[in-house]
């Protein structure tokens, strides 16, 4: 933004750019007004009601919110579960994809094959993915514990253990580090001019020096982007818990979104669920804004 000390009016060029800005962004705005506004407003309205989708809503003001924050142990439990999951998962997943992207950024022969192999796990979803991991993590005959047994380590009960269940899901998540996330990092890596690496070569730096001083800073904006996104996604974890553990054992995998789902579609308490949703939005918003504040200091934008 310019400061308005000397200019009495914006130059025509700036005005034109502003107008075009609105034009270019118009598709999203129109889309939002048509497809987004009504549902969002309604869901907020429902959060102020008792509502079971098939009958009329009953306005109860902030009742749902008060109950959630003051009287619902599952609200806090699910926040705790989700937070823990996010804090463990996001760094691991970002690091994993980044390292893999660096590895795959080599034009060696057959790299296309490798990249495809790494990508495949990320397209397996839903029931198949869950069945696969229920089998892999089976404490008695699953792959993981079989391998651990070779080293004489008695494996944990994974998904059946209240202490390991969340980590089991993080593990599941790690399997898709070769997916879209890695592609994005890869695309970003492609954009780093080779000349920069040559400078490090001349200075006598090795692989790690290149990584630390060139790679990471140059794509820090993309890393930042994905960290923000992954936090948002992690907070909304649902499918794995729904299909595999149903929130157990001992509610250790009762994630926020799962609890929301139970309230919305099992109990038909759509009002309560909407309140849960809006609180989640608030939480994620705050966390994201915090990240942006930190991000401004840490991220390097080439374009600026």
């Amino acid at each position: 933004m310019n400061n308005q000390i000397t200019k009495p009016q914006k130059s025509p060029l700036k005005k034109k750019q502003a107008l075009l800005g609105y034009l270019f962004v118009a598709p999203w705005i129109i889309g939002f007004l048509v497809f987004g506004l009504y549902p969002i407003v309604m869901s907020f309205y429902y959060s102020l009601c008792q509502y079971d989708v098939l009958r009329v809503p009953q306005f109860i003001g902030l009742g749902n919110y008060k109950e959630l924050i003051g009287h619902d142990p599952y609200f806090w439990k699910s926040i705790w579960n989700t937070l823990l999951y996010t804090v463990v998962r996001v760094p691991l997943v970002i690091l994993g994809s980044l390292l893999l992207a660096v590895l795959v950024n080599n034009a060696v022969k057959g790299i296309r094959f490798f990249r495809t192999v790494f990508f495949i796990p990320s397209i397996i979803t839903g029931v198949v993915l869950s069945a696969l991991w229920l089998w892999l993590l089976n404490p008695q005959y699953g792959l993981f514990n079989s391998i651990l047994a070779v080293f004489g380590i008695p494996g944990p009960l994974w998904l059946q253990s209240p202490h390991w269940s969340k980590f089991s899901m993080v593990l599941m998540s790690l399997w898709s580090i070769g997916g879209g996330r890695m592609l994005v990092f890869l695309a970003a890596l492609q954009g780093i001019p080779t000349a920069l690496y040559e400078v490090v070569d001349i200075d006598g730096g090795g692989w790690w020096a290149k990584f630390r001083h060139i790679t990471v800073p140059m794509i820090s904006s993309v890393i930042f982007l994905w960290t923000v996104l992954e936090v948002i996604f992690s907070f909304q974890v649902f499918t794995e818990a729904y299909v595999m553990t149903k929130g157990g054992p001992l509610n250790s995998t009762l994630f926020y979104n799962l609890y929301l789902y139970y309230k919305a579609f099992d109990d038909f308490s759509m009002g309560y669920a909407s309140a849960l949703a809006w609180l989640l939005l608030l939480i994620i918003l705050v966390v994201t804004l915090m990240q942006f504040v930190v991000g401004k200091k840490v991220v390097y934008y080439e374009g600026k």
Partner: protein
């Protein structure tokens, strides 16, 4: 500086790491393929059989009889292609506005756009459904395709915006001084430079649409309007799940994505963008 055999040892290490990673990541997928060839007796046998004793190719045949595979394939392709088209166009336009143009309220609107990703879809699902009912779009593909043309989703906008931000301002300034219209800059300069990012968006959108189950579930009622993802769900029942056939179906459904990915790789070839500009 002495660096004996640097190139070959580096290549060796690279291959070693690649192979290790590949083995770890592909193993579960191999189990899926192997299960797809098993009869129901041996699927969960202990110890686990990696290579089935009898190869049940009929599992694959059953996929075609139990669901209208080709009809679903056609539908899935149609929906995916249209969605990718709409997403690429609209999200790149919108991202351009956020990254390359200056206008009042830009950054606030961006945060707002981001905010729309933070509301769980479960709660807007019902009002959205009612909305589409009012439009008369139920039991058509419209709810699945049309929104893609209006921004393509906050996620893609965010992705492209971050990417566009890495394009040096000098390019824009030079082009503007030359009298290029913004649209031309967008079309001729930014888009070509952003090919890897666009390819990524295309692939991610494809994957998401290909695997999308909920949308088709609630918007499509005619049996012949289903998608492949929906078809997969048909194999899961209350007590009986035909695991072998389900796995076979999954493999078939995954195949197009894998093939497409393998082919699209050329957009990720090193040196495609920018290497000449700065050095």
């Amino acid at each position: 500086m002495k660096r004996p055999n640097f190139k070959t040892s580096r290549t060796f290490v690279t291959y070693l790491l690649l192979i290790c990673a590949a083995v770890v990541l592909i193993l579960p997928f191999i189990w899926i393929i192997s299960t797809s060839l098993k009869g129901s007796e041996s699927i969960f046998a202990i110890p686990p059989q990696w290579i089935p004793k009898d190869l049940h190719w009929d599992n694959y045949a059953k996929v075609f009889t139990k669901m209208p595979f080709f009809v679903y394939l056609k539908n899935s392709v149609f929906i995916s292609v249209m969605t990718i088209l709409g997403t690429l166009i609209s999200s790149s336009l919108v991202a351009y506005a956020f990254a390359c143009l200056k206008w009042p309220g830009r950054d606030w609107l961006f945060i707002f756009v981001l905010g729309t990703m933070m509301l769980p879809a479960q709660v807007t699902m019902i009002p959205v459904f009612v909305l589409y009912k009012q439009f008369g779009w139920l039991n058509t593909f419209k709810p699945l395709i049309v929104p893609a043309f209006f921004g393509g989703g906050a996620f893609n906008i965010f992705l492209l915006r971050q990417f566009f931000l890495t394009i040096p301002k000098e390019l824009f300034e030079a082009a503007r001084l030359d009298g290029c219209s913004e649209f031309r800059i967008y079309w001729k300069i930014v888009l070509p430079l952003a090919k890897p990012a666009l390819a990524t968006v295309a692939i991610l959108t494809f994957m998401m649409t290909w695997n999308d189950f909920l949308g088709p579930l609630i918007y499509l009622s005619d049996k012949l309007k289903g998608t492949l993802a929906l078809g997969l769900a048909m194999f899961v029942g209350q007590y009986q799940t035909e695991w072998g056939v389900l796995m076979a179906a999954s493999v078939l459904v995954m195949l197009p994505v894998i093939v497409l990915f393998f082919l699209f790789q050329k957009y990720f070839i090193r040196g495609f963008m920018m290497s000449g500009i700065k050095g």
